[in-house]
Subunit: 139 residues, 3 copies
């Protein structure tokens, strides 16, 4: 992962073979980022993504082994139990331009991933919500 | 709907059961927002979305009753007949990670919706375009 | 194509019949834009999009002749061989709200396209990467 700072933004390149969520987490820890917005595009070679089920209060993920364009990834960073936490959704396409997507658990870069991360000067934490079963923004 | 200001941005949480378009409109009115960019992710439990047909100059919407991840929502705020108007598109996914989407007429939050709204210091209004049949940005 | 400047952003309207990639390139040349982030929504009447294949180091595009909503377009601008280069991905939907998408080679506006372009005060160029077969950000 390589980055360059541009005002309150970072332009980031995540390279072939790197896992995205752990790279972003490490990036936030290194740069002391507490709150941020994430946007990006690129291609991955392996993805685990899915949906959150309110009925059993669990995420359900499927894995996709193959090369997929990342048409858009949208996410944010907040603090969860004192550490940065990345919430990320993405839309992917295959060789037929068919799309799928979900809440991203993990994904590994296949070609390159190009991101823009905007640092926010807020201090939002996530706290556990009993009804939902997730850590939601405490605002 | 809860919000926190971060420079020229707002981080916004729209909560389970709240309708998104009317919440955003009320937010813009309350905060005197004339022009803005919107980006977000989350999950909804009901959606009406569709497409604009040039041939009959009408939107055609379908309704989806169920829980769907919001993989990305992209929109903007401009003035229309003196009041803020929200233009919003979104991509959704189901329990199979299959995607669908469109121009959003209405949607109700199912888990939570996390948005970033950037205020723009412009004063763009929408004016009616006869050929297109829509109110387009007057720039 | 019409634009209005808002701080370090431009709000842009690309009109019916205009080709998007060439319009964006011309806009970057005219405004001396070297690095930027792009986000937008709207509707197109013709698209060529696809994916990059690492095995033959080529893009493979399909063409779609018809009206499609642009649910999200995400991209960036960097310098490539001294000139601005637009990297753009998009997700489209049809009259059934079915989605498809890919890396955009060309697309022609069908109704209108509404973009936000943020100028970045960096000077990132793309340089050719032998292993990948593409010009990647030199950061």
């Amino acid at each position: 992962m390589k980055s360059i700072k541009a005002g309150n933004k970072f332009v980031i390149k995540i390279e072939k073979g790197e896992e995205v969520l752990s790279s972003l987490l490490e990036f936030c820890l290194t740069n002391n980022i507490k709150n941020a917005s994430i946007s990006g595009l690129g291609a991955v070679e392996w993805v685990s993504c899915g949906y959150y089920s309110l009925s059993d209060k669990k995420y359900h993920f499927k894995q996709y082994d193959g090369m997929y364009e990342v048409l858009n990834m949208t996410g944010n960073v907040c603090l969860k139990e004192g550490k940065p936490f990345v919430h990320l959704h993405a839309i992917f396409s295959d060789t037929e331009n068919h799309t799928f997507g979900g809440h991203v658990e993990e994904m590994r870069v296949g070609v390159v991933l190009e991101l823009s991360i905007e640092i926010l000067e807020t201090n939002i934490s996530r706290i556990y919500n009993e009804e939902i079963g997730l850590f939601l923004m405490d605002i």
